[in-house]
């Protein structure tokens, strides 16, 4: 079976090349390629409404008609497969007339509301109309009007604008495997219909809105807010789950700074191509939530938090931290880092903790056991799978987890791979999951039975294990059901078999980065043990004994052993249900976006920028590193990086020892080496990058630390694949977990109970999710329709 399908795929890929002529040009493509694709590849654009790469063929719109030699009628380029010797014309008077006629029909009932339509300016129908000029019509009949409908808080439908291309129904069915949209009635009376008659019961991903070539499907979050050309578009990385979708944020200047109006990924770059789930698409409204902190808060003598200036707040925090460090030693200070801040910020935080505060008491809210994963893979590079590789692997074994809800992009990659490449998916899980529908075989596992899985597979007793063992090359994706020793065993099994690569699922946008950057009491960045002789020798005063884990810090606080707790972008009080009383006698400093349960206990609260308001790199669950770019702007808040640098400065530290910038450790070059051409900023930056230089003139330029990360963190070392140019161009580059040091001792600081996955679903995102009003509305909508469906049954 394996080989049969394998050969099929291979032979499909290796169809012999054929040569054919398009508009007088000789083109070559593998036989069977769709003409429209072959043309697009050669830079010949054929208009198309219904054709969409990766979806089934519809041939409904007739825009792509071309003239094929010796064929009596015009042919649709979206369904014509190229063969040797064919000849085509793609633009002629005859073709233009046919396309114009098609548009005229489409416009028969189409309203002329481009000036108010959301799609105006980026509408495919509008573009085609300009090109073929069907500005007048032979129709004199009144246009048929229908009122717009709201199907959910996210999805609105305007029938008069719909051109019945079926893109939405196909993306929802084939792409999302939700099948919530259909088409009712016939010809001019046809309408797109949601599954509950007038409401949608679905995953609310908004893919249908995004893919609609016109303004028929519009988004509750964006409709009538602006015009596409009034926005700047910034590509960055989604701040929610651990998959790390690239998201293009539409930004408009506002009285406040720059506000985010829209999220999509229409440029189709990035791992996710055009995929985004509801969180990536609609979950950006937390940035202007009224509860957002925009001023530092300091607890006054009456015991209440009151607004303060940055100078004052930083001075208080710095003085107190210094005092505690100097009088009680660094061991009396604890530091908790974040799952959502950038790699540079996480790296800086641990460096600050270790070299300025002098403590290894640093941890984060661990959502999965990356430390165990790194230990298991140590010395075995090339054994992890990137998310792109998962999208084209011939076979995948998914153990545990619930990708559809917790890792929507991963689920999308797997579904797409199964649909388009006939990948074989095997699922072992203790409960049924939605991806079972794509699986070639499933195996139910008793809830506690994951640890025996390797043994079960090796036994080759069941059809399931036989099929899995017969795979020539396999990617094994496993969830947080595996922790510490279980991870070792599973990975050891895979390493022994040799043909297996792994991916391990964690929760948030930079949970992996937090682990990689050493937010551990016993591990430095790159999982280097703090006890390893000579580790990070350039760090001054690096304490070489283990620090305290997060729960141990709270214990120490309760026993009066912790003078200060410094929390960056984390909410352990609510998340780990820790007793606030423990912190009664501890100085608490919190950097966050909101006054969380943890921030509410603090003595000093510093308002931080979100991932959408700063730049830096983040690493997804699969080790893909991407560049997050500053999109929005809010007065009052500062990136965590800047806050840390300022805090260190206020403590009297020479910040150059923390962040290399300007003259000194690294040379800043503003163009003086470019002589006469120094003024050309763009070319200049290209030149700098080509020469391995970057202007690092500010201690707040977080990328100044990327050099140091690449130098000291083995998995992030510069290499052919970890290419800075590519990273800065907006691509995902793989880090290498197997480069972590060969010997990582098992430490008591790691145990299964230190891991607390959040199991966020499609509309939740830990503490941050509470402030995403759009997501809350979607969740409520889904609850209401689910109740209605249940009541009807």
């Amino acid at each position: 079976m394996t080989t049969r399908l394998g050969i099929l795929r291979d032979s499909e890929q290796k169809m012999p090349d054929v040569t054919f002529t398009v508009d007088g040009k000789k083109l070559t493509a593998p036989a069977g390629t769709l003409l429209i694709d072959a043309c697009r590849k050669a830079g010949i654009e054929i208009p198309a409404f219904c054709y969409y790469p990766g979806l089934s063929l519809q041939a409904a719109c007739r825009m792509c008609v071309v003239r094929q030699e010796k064929v009596p009628k015009l042919q649709t380029a979206c369904t014509t497969m190229v063969a040797e010797g064919q000849s085509f014309i793609t633009e002629s008077e005859e073709i233009a007339a046919a396309r114009k006629g098609t548009i005229e029909l489409l416009l028969g009932n189409h309203p002329l509301d481009c000036p108010v339509c959301d799609a105006g300016g980026e509408c495919e129908l509008q573009d085609m109309n300009f090109k073929y000029g069907a500005g007048e019509s032979l129709y004199t009949e009144a246009k048929r009007h229908r009122d717009e409908q709201q199907w959910s808080p996210a999805v609105f439908y305007d029938r008069p604008r719909c051109i019945l291309c079926y893109r939405c129904t196909r993306i929802c069915g084939e792409g999302m495997d939700v099948w919530a949209l259909g088409i009712e009635n016939r010809n001019a009376s046809s309408v797109i219909a949601p599954n509950l008659g007038n409401r949608l019961d679905c995953e609310q991903c908004g893919m249908c809105i995004d893919i609609c070539p016109v303004g028929a499907l519009t988004s509750g979050a964006y409709r009538y807010k602006t015009r596409p050309w009034e926005m700047n578009h910034v590509s960055t990385v989604c701040t929610h789950c651990g998959d790390g979708c690239k998201v293009t944020l539409g930004i408009r200047t506002s009285t406040e700074g720059a506000e985010i109006i829209r999220g999509d990924n229409r440029d189709k770059s990035g791992i996710n191509n055009d995929f985004l789930c509801a969180k990536g698409r609609f979950g950006f409204d937390f940035v202007d939530h009224p509860d957002r902190l925009t001023k530092p808060l300091v607890r006054n003598s009456a015991g209440t938090l009151e607004p303060a200036t940055w100078e004052h707040a930083l001075r208080i925090a710095a003085t107190k931290l210094k005092e505690i460090r100097d009088t009680r030693s660094g061991a009396a200070i604890g530091v908790i880092g974040s799952n959502r801040t950038t790699n540079e910020e996480n790296y800086l935080l641990q460096k600050f903790a270790r070299t300025v505060l002098g403590t290894n008491n640093i941890d984060h809210e661990r959502t999965t056991d990356y430390a165990a994963f790194a230990r298991a893979l140590a010395g075995h590079p090339g054994k992890t799978a990137t998310l792109r590789e998962i999208g084209r692997a011939p076979a995948i074994l998914l153990i545990g987890g619930d990708p559809t809800n917790e890792h929507p992009l991963l689920a999308w990659q797997i579904r797409t791979n199964v649909r388009l490449n006939r990948a074989r998916l095997y699922i072992a899980n203790s409960k049924p999951i939605k991806l079972d529908r794509q699986a070639k075989a499933t195996q139910e596992i008793p809830a506690g039975g994951y640890k025996n899985l390797a043994e079960f597979l090796d036994s080759g007793q069941s059809d399931f294990s036989k099929a899995v063992l017969a795979e020539e090359s396999l990617i094994v994706i496993f969830g947080e059901e595996f922790r510490s020793a279980a991870v070792d065993e599973l990975v050891a099994w895979g390493l022994k078999r040799g043909n297996i690569r792994f991916a391990y699922l964690g929760d948030h946008s930079n949970s992996r980065g937090a682990a990689d950057m050493g937010l551990f009491p016993d591990l430095l960045p790159g999982y280097v043990p703090v006890t390893a002789p000579g580790a990070f020798a350039e760090y001054p005063n690096l304490p070489s004994t283990h620090g305290r884990t997060l729960p141990q810090m709270f214990e120490a606080a309760a026993n009066g052993e912790l003078g200060a707790l410094f929390v960056v972008g984390a909410n352990p009080i609510s998340r780990l249900e820790l007793d606030p009383e423990a912190l009664r006698d501890t100085l608490v400093i919190v950097q966050d976006l909101f006054l969380t349960e943890t921030a509410a206990l603090a003595d000093v609260v510093l308002p931080a920028a979100s991932l959408y308001e700063k730049s830096g790199t983040v690493t997804n669950s699969f080790g893909d590193v991407q560049l997050a770019r500053k999109a929005a702007d809010r007065p009052g808040v500062r990136p965590d990086f800047e806050i840390l640098v300022r805090l260190a400065g206020a403590m009297g530290v020479d910040v150059k020892t923390l962040v290399p910038f300007a003259h000194g450790s690294v040379t800043g070059d503003l163009g003086q080496s470019r002589g006469a051409q120094a003024g050309e900023a763009d070319r200049h930056s290209v030149w700098l990058e080509a020469n391995g230089l970057e202007p690092k003139l500010s201690p707040f330029d977080s990328l100044a630390l990327l050099d140091e990360i690449q130098r000291l963190v083995p998995g992030y070392a510069p290499s052919e694949s970890f290419d800075r140019f590519s990273l800065f161009a907006g691509n995902d580059v793989p880090s290498e977990l197997g480069n972590s040091p060969g010997f990582v001792p098992i430490s008591t600081l790691r145990g299964p109970d230190l891991i607390a996955p959040n199991h966020d679903g499609l509309f939740t995102s830990a503490t941050l999710g509470r402030y995403c009003r759009g997501l809350t509305e979607l969740e409520q909508h889904q609850e209401t329709v689910k109740e209605a469906v249940a009541a009807a049954d």
Binding site: W179, A180, L181, G182, I183, E184, N185, R186, A193, N195
Partner: protein, 170 residues
């Protein structure tokens, strides 16, 4: 259909569906005949009918509605016991179909797409029913009547009324 789930159809029709579902290489091929038979028995495609057909064919209700709504002979609202369909397409129209239609209106006191209060008759204006040579033509449920003059209308209506009474007495 899953055993234990009660069918809303008569035992005969349910049994017929059980067979029909197995008859084609793909289950969904049975959809259109099932919709027609179900409408004949239930009078129209109610929510319950759609739900059961979807269940029997492992389709979503949305898919069933998508197909059903394509065909004008499938109804989502109840019709009269005798559904009178008057062709007003070109041949019949030239031969006086609108006079026939008007006569039905007067006789039944309803407009097209209406149903008489006793639920006995409903009236519909339809496109060509394939009896062009003998127009004007009408179809009452599955019966054809052709070369109709307005004066025939009371007789036709009376005939069905009598039929209903006779069946009612039995």
């Amino acid at each position: 259909m899953k055993p234990g789930v009660a069918s809303i159809f008569s035992p005969t029709l349910a049994a017929r569906f059980d067979v029909l579902v197995e008859k084609y290489p793909v289950k969904r091929s049975a959809l259109i005949p099932m919709l027609l038979y179900a409408q004949d028995e239930a009078g129209y495609l109610s929510e319950a009918v759609i739900a059961e057909i979807a269940r029997r064919l492992s389709l979503t209700e949305l898919e069933v509605r998508n197909v059903a709504s394509y065909y004008s002979m499938l109804r989502f609202k109840p019709a009269g016991r005798y559904n009178i369909q008057v062709c007003t397409n070109i041949c019949c129209m030239l031969k006086g179909a609108y006079d026939v239609l008007d006569r039905f209106r007067e006789e039944l006191h309803i407009d097209p797409n209406g149903t008489t209060p006793d639920g006995l008759f409903s009236l519909e204006e339809v496109e060509c029913i394939g009896a062009c040579c003998w127009g004007p033509a009408i179809q009452v449920n599955y019966d054809f009547h052709d070369e109709i003059k307005p004066d025939h209308v009371p007789g036709i209506v009376g005939g069905y009324r009598g039929k209903a009474q006779a069946e009612g007495k039995k």
